[in-house]
């Protein structure tokens, strides 16, 4: 029945998340209460090794970063498919092995394509 199950195994995880959040918020609040607050222009300007800040902090990034991120997502998903396969490997036998090799081969085609296209080259 949905809505009637409690993952009791994850109770420690919930406690850790709670403590981590409390420490994060606690230090921020403590700092807010304790620290003196005397702002002036030089103190509020971003630190650039002693020089006055020049230009915009946010500039356009190269599209190359996007290709790398996209490829990372794809191969991350591929790796995720490997986890349950590795766990159930004994039960699947030769059939499962061939199946996964086919899966990896199809993605290998994409990998070779990307390599030949030169998407891994930074220059």
């Amino acid at each position: 029945m949905p809505g009637s199950y409690i993952p009791t195994d994850y109770f420690p995880v919930a406690i850790v998340i709670l403590i981590a959040t409390l420490i994060g918020l606690g230090t921020l609040l403590l700092g807010l209460v304790v620290r003196p607050r005397r702002p002036y222009t030089q103190k509020l300007s971003p630190y650039e090794s002693g020089n006055p800040p020049v230009g915009e902090p946010r500039t356009e990034f190269s599209v190359k970063f996007y290709i790398i991120a996209m490829l990372f997502v794809v191969f991350d998903v591929e790796a995720v498919f490997l986890y349950p396969w590795a766990v159930a490997y004994d039960k699947l036998g030769m059939f499962g092995f061939v199946e996964m090799m086919l899966f990896i081969f199809i993605l290998l085609v994409g990998y070779v394509y990307v390599w030949k296209k030169g998407a891994f080259n930074w220059e």
Binding site: M1, P2, G3, S4, Y5, I6, P7, Y10, E56, R58, T59, E60, F61, S62, V63, K64, F65, Y66, I67, A69, M70, L71, F72, V73, V74, D76, V77, E78, V80, F81, Y83, P84, W85, A86, V87, A88, Y89, K91, L92, F95, G96, E99, M100, L102, F103, I104, I106, L107, V109, G110, Y111, Y113, V114, K117, G118, A119
Partner: protein, 171 residues
């Protein structure tokens, strides 16, 4: 209200609030940070459906990889103009009204559902005994063989699509 329902109420409420926070922030980077919190809440909700593996995937793929993609897109686009421009179009009250009517209808339809579908062979106890990963592995690579292999083709399209779209501009 039982304890599981209380948890579900918390997650449903906080996910709605977080979604609203994501679409109303002025700074797109703040939206992405709230999205991270939303993804963690979704992962926790999967745990309450006894889907441990899916919860782990939600963290690894969504919070880990897809969020990075979002951040990169924000950095690529350099959204200075969009930030200062008017965020909402003038017809937003109409859209809000339509969404509200839709929400009312959805509540009415869901309220009508009284018969729960019969439980399958994978009960909480059966999955607990075997382990979440083992159960998924045994089903995914035998019964759902074709969808699994099709997934590799979808990923292949994603690889080639990204390179074709982005590589032209580099050269």
């Amino acid at each position: 209200m039982t304890l599981p329902q209380l948890f579900f109420a918390y997650f449903a409420l906080s996910m709605t609030v977080l979604s609203l926070l994501i679409v109303t922030r002025k700074n797109p980077v703040h939206s992405v940070i709230w999205m991270l919190v939303l993804f963690i809440h979704i992962a926790a909700l999967y745990l309450f459906l006894n889907a441990e593996f899916l919860a782990a995937i939600q963290i690894i793929i969504y919070a880990g990889a897809i969020l990075v993609l979002f951040l990169f897109v924000i950095m690529l686009l350099n959204l200075k103009r969009e930030e200062t421009a008017q965020k909402y179009q003038s017809q937003w009250p109409i859209s809000m009204g339509i969404a509200l009517v839709f929400a009312i209808f959805m509540t009415m339809i869901v309220g009508k559902i009284t018969v729960m579908p019969a439980l399958g062979e994978y009960s909480v106890e059966a999955i607990k005994a075997e382990g979440s990963m083992m159960t998924i592995g045994k089903v995914l690579y035998t019964r759902y063989l074709l969808p699994f292999e099709i997934a590799s083709l979808v990923l292949l399209v994603a690889i080639i699509g990204a390179v074709v779209l982005a590589k032209q501009r580099v050269e």
